[in-house]
Symmetry: C5
Subunit: 92 residues, 5 copies
């Protein structure tokens, strides 16, 4: 899994029908609490908002987490992070 | 998923028979709305044109989106982007 | 598989229900015994602690190692490293 | 999929028996028609030769393209490129 | 697949039970015959030794090559390289 920051939202009228109703967010991967250049798009399964730090799964795991192995998604938000504790000091 | 820009089209007469009739596009990954060096080839499932920004899935998700788990593709265009909204200001 | 160092622990109240009870650790990939910048999150299946060096599997392998193909995880700790021996001299 | 240049051929007597008779080629990933440093090995399913530009699939897609889901390969050549047209001028 | 050099061996007493008896090697990816910084761990299926150049498969392909889709491995050595011939001159 990856820790990512939600930085945006995508609208796409012309798309695979099974994506209808799916909330697609723009994310940036985080490293040591810092937002990096690495950008990806993920389906939001837990109601995350712009600015929140989230847990993202990818590949076939994302499809299954979203409820069906035939969904055309390969990344999904599966948790909103409260705290990350690393080596005795709290990061967030 | 990735946000990519369609930059080209591929013709290949000698190929796996199941690729017959499949529209193969050359794409560049985008980051923060800017086209990067990262190049990939994807099957077009929604009729995207050169110059358009699209949503691309990869791996086994691409095969299933294209309709069959035995298709020899590992990336597919599943949406054409209208707008990307990031942190209160519209990017496109 | 990857060799990683366990550097932290994640708490997330709002998450996919099937992640309930799953211990999620923050890891850094190691190279030649040195901790790199590459950060990832993995489910802990063997009771690893912060500071330990571990063996991590990813993708669908991680789901199956954790016991169910529908779990929303794509990385899992499957072993705690005692020693790495490289070319006649012991690294750890 | 990736666009790659075929740069070499591999011989390996001691290998998994199911790789017997499989032609293994050394490839370099191309970007914008230029051969990059990224090197990989793929099974050749269409009779490509050294110096040709090809379409390569990876992961479980490669196994299925080669005809069996249990084959120990994770990359396969599935097409030989005639032309790549990008933004109104022919690259090759 | 990747061409890698075997550079080490891993011992881990505390691990997933199904890894019992599995020989885990430390590898470095090769490029153009030169050992790079990219480090990974793979199960050895063909009896490779430290210093040998090998063919490595990853992902679900590795599990199946090792004999069972539920094994907690995502990389496996499936061949020991005799020669790599690139563009009319022998590399090894």
């Amino acid at each position: 899994m990856q820790i990512c920051r939600v930085v945006g939202h995508i609208w796409a009228t012309k798309k695979e029908s099974s994506l209808e109703g799916m909330k697609l967010m723009v994310l940036r991967a985080c490293r040591d609490g810092i937002v990096t250049e690495e950008e990806l798009v993920a389906a939001d399964l837990v109601g995350a908002g712009i600015g929140e730090d989230v847990i993202v799964v990818s590949g076939s795991t994302a499809r299954r987490a979203a409820g069906s192995d035939s969904l055309p998604i390969d990344a999904a938000i599966v948790g909103i992070i409260d705290t990350v504790e690393t080596e005795r000091e709290k990061k967030w």
